[in-house]
Amino acid sequence: MSFTLFIVQILNGLQFGVLLFLIAAGLTLVFGVMDFINLAHGVQYMLGAYLAVMFYTLTGSFVLALILALVAALAFGLLLEFTVFRQLYERDHLEQVIATFGIIIFLNQGVKVVWGAAPLSLPIPEALSGVVALMPGLVYPVWRLVIIASGLVVALLLYILVSRTRVGMLVRAGATHARIVSALGVDIRRLFMIVFGFGTMLAAFAGIMIAPILSVEPGMGDSVLILAFVVIVIGGIGSMRGAFIAALLVGLVDTLGRSFMIDILRLVMPPSPARTVGPAIASMLIYVLMALVLYFRPAGLFPARGKS
C-alpha cells in the first residue's frame, strides 16, 4: 500500500464522489422541492451518455456533442415531466416508485433497440487525453481531473444559485413550505418544471463527462441510481450541502474500500479468506455507512430545516 497509490485512490474517490454529487444534486432537489421519488433519474444519466455518443459521431466535436446532448436531454426530461411525472406529484411515494420503475424498464430496453445492446464508447477530447505528473512518481489522467474540477465548479454554481438568487430562494422555500410558497402567488408548477429540467441536465452532464471513462451501455444508470439515493439519504433529503458532503464521503469510502480492504483484512486474518471476504465487505461498506448514519440520525446528516 504505497503512498502514491493511496493518493491516486483518493483522487479516484473524489472523482467518483463528484460524479455522484452531479446525479444526487438533481435527485435531492426534485425530491426535496416536489416530494417526488424519481427512479428514472438514473436513466437520464444513461441517456446523456448515449446522446453524447450519438452527437459525437454526427459532429466529430466533443464540445458540440456536449452542448447538443445537454439540450436534447433537457428536452426529453421536460417531455417526460409533461406527459407522466406531472400526474404523479400528488400521488404517494409507492406509486411514484412503480411508475418511474416502469419508465426505467422502458428506456433501458428502448436504448437497446435504438443503439444496440453492445457497449459504446466516447473518446476523450484530444487536448485532455494525456496524463499529468502531479508530483514525482505520480501521474494521473487529465480527464479525471477535469471531471473533478467541473464537478466542483457545478457545486459552487449550485451553492450560489440556491443561496443567492431569487429562484434559489423559492427552491429553498419550496423544499420546506411548498403550499405557502404557492399561496404567496408563485407559480409552483413552473418552479417544479425549472427544478426538474435542471436536475435532468445535471444527471445528463454526469453521464456525458463519465462516458469517455466508462463504457456506455444499457442499464448503466441503475447501479448509479441506487448509489445516488444512498447519497441523498445519508446527506438528508432536500439538502444540497448534505448531498455534496455525502457524495464525497460515499465516493471515497467506496473507492478506498475496494482498493485497500483486502490489505486491511490481511492484518487480522490469513490471506486466502481475506481475498474472498474483502471484496464483499468493500461492496457493502457504503450500505453499512448508510445504516449507521440512519441509526444515529434517522433523517440523515443535514436534515432540511422545517421538515421533521
Binding site: F31, I37, V84, Q87, L88, R91, D92, H93, L94, E95, V97, I98, A99, F101, G102, I103, I104, I105, F106, L107, N108, Q109, G110, K112, V113, D222, I226, F229, V230, V233, I237, T276, V277, P279, A280, I281, S283, M284, Y287, V288, M290, A291, L294, Y295, P298, A299, G300
Partner: protein, 327 residues
C-alpha cells in the same frame, strides 16, 4: 400511504371471500388441466407464481397493512433459499431441519434489521431496507464455498424424515399450494386479530397509537419478523422448485418486483398480492413469448396501471362489480 384510507374500514371479523376460495380451487385443479398439455412447463410456471405470491403476501402485509414500504424483501427470500442450499451442501437435506432453520434464520435477520430499520420513517425506511437487502446480496455473492456470484445447485430436493415428499413436480406443486393457503390464512388471522388492529392503526396514525399506550415499535417489529419468516418460507420453496440458488434472488430489482406485484393486484387486500404475482409473472411470460422487446410494452403498462387503475386489479374488479350491481 393514502391509497387505502380509513374511510374503507376492514370488516371486524374474518369472512371468507368466495372469490378467494374459487382462486385456490382453480389453483388446485391446475395439475389436472396441465396433464393434457405441456405439464412440466405449466406446473413449473404456476409453482413459481405461487412461490412469489407468498413473498408478495409478506410485502402486502407490511406495506398495505403496516404502512411499512420495504424495498429489500428479496433478501429474506434469498436467505431462505441459501439456508436450504448451504445445509444441502453439508449433507442436510431433510426439511424437518432445513425448513425450521430457514424460518429461524430469516426471522432472526428480520428481528435484527427491523430493530434498526423501524427507527426511521417513510422514504428513509424504504432506503434502509434497501441497504440491508444490498448487504445480504453482497454477502451471498462472497460465499465462495457456496458458488459465490455464480450460485449453487442443490444436491437434491428436500426430504421429510427421509421420504421424498417433493419427489414429483406435482407433489411439490401441492406442497407450495398448501404453503400459500397457510400463509394467506396466517396473514388474514393476524390482520384481523387484536395485534393486527394495532399494527394497522400504527399505519393510520402512529402518534395516536402511541398515545393510547401501545408500544408501536414493538408491534411493528413483530410484524416485520412475521413478514421476514414468510419471505424465508418463499425462499425455501423457491430453492426446492428451481434446485438452484444464486445471489440474483436478492437483487434490488427483485424487491422492486415484489412491490410491483402487490400494487398490481391491489395494496392492502392480501388476495390481491396473489392475483398480482400471477398477473405480473404470467404477463411477463406471455409478452416475452410475443416479442423480444417485451419490456417496451411492459414498462408503459406499469405507468398506466399506476395512473389509471388505482387499487390494482382487485380494485378494478370491485369497481366493475359495483357498477354492475348498481344498474
Amino acid at each position: 400511504m393514502s391509497t387505502l384510507t380509513a374511510s374503507k374500514p376492514l370488516r371486524a371479523g374474518p369472512r371468507i371471500d368466495l372469490a378467494v376460495i374459487a382462486m385456490f380451487g382453480v389453483l388446485a385443479l391446475v395439475p389436472f388441466a396441465a396433464a393434457f398439455g405441456a405439464e412440466t412447463y405449466l406446473l413449473g410456471l404456476v409453482t413459481r407464481v405461487m412461490v412469489f405470491a407468498i413473498a408478495a403476501l409478506a410485502v402486502d402485509f407490511l406495506c398495505g397493512f403496516g404502512g411499512l414500504v420495504t424495498f429489500g424483501h428479496a433478501a429474506f427470500v434469498g436467505i431462505g433459499a441459501y439456508t436450504v442450499a448451504i445445509a444441502g451442501a453439508h449433507g442436510v437435506t431433510d426439511m424437518a431441519i432445513t425448513l425450521p432453520l430457514a424460518l429461524i434464520v430469516s426471522g432472526l435477520f428480520a428481528y435484527l434489521t427491523g430493530t434498526i430499520c423501524l427507527r426511521t420513517k417513510s422514504v428513509y425506511f424504504i432506503m434502509i431496507t434497501l441497504a440491508f437487502g444490498q448487504m445480504a446480496y453482497f454477502i451471498a455473492g462472497s460465499l465462495a464455498p457456496y458458488g459465490g456470484d455464480d450460485g449453487i445447485t442443490l444436491p437434491a430436493r428436500s426430504t421429510l424424515f427421509g421420504l421424498q415428499v417433493f419427489g414429483s413436480d406435482r407433489a411439490l406443486y401441492y406442497a407450495v399450494l398448501g404453503s400459500l393457503i397457510a400463509s394467506y390464512g396466517l396473514c388474514r388471522a393476524v390482520v384481523y386479530s387484536r395485534f393486527g388492529r394495532v399494527f394497522r392503526g400504527a399505519r393510520e396514525n402512529p402518534t395516536r397509537m402511541a398515545t393510547i399506550g401501545f408500544d408501536v415499535f414493538r408491534y411493528q417489529r413483530v410484524g416485520y419478523v412475521i413478514a421476514g419468516c414468510l419471505g424465508g418460507l418463499s425462499g425455501f420453496l423457491l430453492a426446492n422448485a428451481t434446485e438452484f440458488v444464486s445471489p440474483a434472488y436478492m437483487s434490488w430489482q427483485r424487491s422492486g418486483e415484489l412491490i410491483i406485484m402487490v400494487l398490481f393486484g391491489g395494496l392492502g387486500t392480501l388476495h390481491g398480492a396473489i392475483v398480482g404475482a400471477a398477473a405480473y409473472l404470467l404477463l411477463e411470460e406471455w409478452l416475452a413469448g410475443f416479442t423480444e422487446n417485451w419490456k417496451l410494452i411492459f414498462g408503459p403498462l406499469l405507468v398506466i396501471v399506476v395512473l389509471y387503475a388505482r387499487g390494482g386489479l382487485v380494485g378494478l374488479a370491485a369497481s366493475i362489480k359495483a357498477r354492475l350491481t348498481r344498474d
